[in-house]
């Protein structure tokens, strides 16, 4: 029961990233792609064949990769530095701090296969700490698009934005949620569904689960608002405060630890401005057992029905 009438088509957001960077690079000769032997996993094969000299592959050396990105920006290039998110962020966090964030270098960091996208490969390959690590760094917008349309829009936005950013992408298939032609706006939440009893906030691979959860809640007579909050920093305080004031309860869900991520960021805004009951769903501060990303999201209470249950319980605390 509760299964949708027809299964929506799912898309790998890396394809939207690859198509967009190739299109932009054809128009802007300063764009370069930097990677750590991740041509395949970053879907840079097409870029490599079209612009072979503009693919800077440093080999398996992430600390150097970040520094090289900063140097390329200093030399007037526009680098998209791509790698599996756990290694791009965790391995070279101090380089991201000093060379990119503190130096305010115009480098676009692209974390591929973030969250638990590498599922069965285990927690060494999971990147469920990267929101926490990156969102404390000044000058560095942190963005997790929810579908291929928002991914393409964010990649295009990044090229025009004069400063660093971190784009957190997944390889787990997601349906289209935003309309074709959607323009990405930094720090602006997207209202995907109006509602008055509770607000569901997510980004990345969790947004579509929130939409489905809201549909399940509607069947139970509960009106749930859904916000897609791709930008974790700078965060859309107005949308969060309005949601708290108008719906009185907020559920967050993320493919990330519940410590320091999207839920924490939302909670910071809520406690400072409009305290209401909240439930933060995510990876509960443990290393995940073996399983695919989809299995693990269900395992950690983020199946749409479980999200709906969590929202229903939360409403009772209002």
């Amino acid at each position: 029961m509760n299964a949708p009438a027809s299964t929506p088509k799912l898309y790998d957001c890396r394809d939207a990233f690859a198509a967009t960077i190739e299109r932009l690079a054809a128009e802007n000769e300063t764009i370069v792609a930097v990677c750590n032997d991740s041509v395949g996993s970053s879907k840079l094969g097409g870029f490599k064949s079209k612009f072979p000299e503009r693919l800077v592959n440093v080999g398996i050396a992430e600390q150097n990769m970040i520094g090289v990105g900063a140097g390329l920006a200093n030399g007037g290039r526009l680098p998209y530095v791509c790698g599996a998110s756990p290694f791009l962020t965790g391995r070279s966090l101090e380089q991201i701090k000093a060379d990119i964030s503190y130096s305010n270098a115009n480098v676009k960091l692209v974390g591929i296969s973030s969250g638990m996208a590498y599922g069965e490969l285990g927690p060494t390959h999971h990147s469920i700490e990267d929101f926490a690590w990156t969102r404390v760094l000044p000058n560095l917008p942190v963005i997790a698009p929810c579908d291929r349309i928002e991914t393409a829009a964010a990649v295009e936005w990044a090229a025009a934005y004069n400063g660093p950013c971190f784009l957190r992408l997944s390889r787990v298939g997601v349906p289209d949620l935003l309309p074709e032609g959607h323009k990405f706006e930094l720090g602006k939440a997207n209202l995907l569904r109006e509602g008055s009893d509770v607000t569901l906030i997510a980004n990345g691979t969790l947004t579509h689960r929130m939409v489905t959860a809201a549909e399940l809640l509607a069947e139970r007579g509960i009106s749930a608002r859904v916000l897609n909050l791709a930008t974790v920093r700078p965060i859309d305080e107005d949308a969060i405060i309005t949601a708290a004031l108008e719906t009185g309860a907020i559920v967050t869900a993320e493919e990330h630890s519940i410590f320091g991520g999207l839920g924490s960021a939302v909670a910071e805004v809520v406690v400072d401005n409009a305290p209401v009951p909240m439930k933060r769903l995510g990876v509960p501060g443990i290393y995940a057992p073996t399983g695919s990303a989809e299995f693990l999201l269900d395992e950690f209470g983020m199946a749409p029905s479980a999200i709906a249950d969590a929202a229903q319980s939360l409403i009772k605390r209002k």
């Binding site: 300063t30 370069v32 000299e53 503009r54 800077v56 440093v58 080999g59 050396a61 600390q63 150097n64 970040i66 520094g67 090289v68 990105g69 900063a70 140097g71 390329l72 920006a73 200093n74 030399g75 007037g76 290039r77 680098p79 101090e94 380089q95 000093a98 060379d99 503190y102 130096s103 305010n104 270098a105």
Partner: protein, 269 residues
């Protein structure tokens, strides 16, 4: 500028650096004294830079990866006209843009923020690679400490520079044989540096890094591979009681020591 003038200027920079560290009550004077001849040669003879256009795309790039010797860089930048000379007296003072490690968004002439070790060389590889991609003919120079070469990120960058055939990159290792807590040989001895760099397909020149004519000719050298200058220097060079003494990594001279040092450096002027 000829060698004699460069030598005189290096002594002036040493004097101003010493005074700044003494007045601020902090700094990294040992490593500053060892690197000042290299900085002087770069800024007054070798680098194509324009103080009134610090972001000119054609400027040569210089990165002081051993960012803890920032005071020596600030004094050199001031002498070269990037910042006012009287601003040196604000070194480490509240809200001064001259803090303990250089900030590229505040201090003109600084290219990237350094301080944590092992950062400057990877960034310099990116700068040199950018010149290869854009066709702009600038050269990139980076100075690291010898202890700093213990950071693994440097060896990632050394591999990449050779792979990218960056003949427009010069790495100077300020080989003063001491790191913060002890000598290199008692810590993690990288010496001899030459065979290690050569094994990674770099061209290596060894010089006396406190001999101005050797410094200048090594910096002006152009080859077909990335170039490493192993600059044998003395920590605390120019001040007798500081020379080759590990405790002068970041010690501050007493009034009496300060006056002795001033007198020794002034004598040589």
């Amino acid at each position: 500028m000829d060698i004699k003038e460069l030598e005189r200027l290096a002594r002036e920079i040493r004097l101003r650096d010493l005074q700044a560290v003494f007045e601020a009550g902090a700094g990294h004077i040992g490593g500053e004294m060892s690197v000042i001849d290299i900085l002087t040669a770069l800024y007054f003879r070798v680098l194509r830079v324009w103080p009134d256009q610090p972001k000119n795309p054609e400027r040569d790039r210089f990165v002081l990866s051993k960012g803890h010797t920032a005071c020596a860089l600030y004094v050199t930048l001031a002498k070269r006209g990037f910042i006012p000379e009287d601003e040196i007296s604000t070194f480490l003072k509240p809200h001064s843009r001259l803090n303990g490690h250089p900030n590229c968004n505040k201090v003109p002439g600084v290219e990237t923020n350094t301080g944590p070790l092992g950062h400057g060389l990877p960034v310099s590889v990116g700068m040199a690679k950018a010149a290869k991609l854009s066709g702009v003919k600038y050269h990139t120079y980076v100075v690291t400490g010898d202890g700093e070469m213990q950071e693994g990120s440097n060896w990632e960058a050394i591999m990449a520079a050779a792979q990218f055939k960056l003949d427009n990159l010069t790495l100077v290792i300020d080989h003063n044989r001491f790191q913060q807590g002890a000598s290199l040989s008692d810590t993690n001895d990288l010496a001899p540096l030459r065979p290690k760099l050569e094994a990674f397909d770099w061209e290596v020149t060894e010089i006396n890094g406190n001999d101005m004519s050797e410094v200048v000719s090594a910096l002006e050298h152009r080859g077909s591979r990335p170039h490493c200058i192993v600059a044998h220097t003395n920590k605390g060079h120019g001040i007798s009681f500081m020379q080759d003494r590990v405790d002068w990594h970041h010690k501050v001279p007493s009034k009496e020591q300060y006056e002795t040092a001033i007198s020794e450096l002034s004598e040589a002027l």
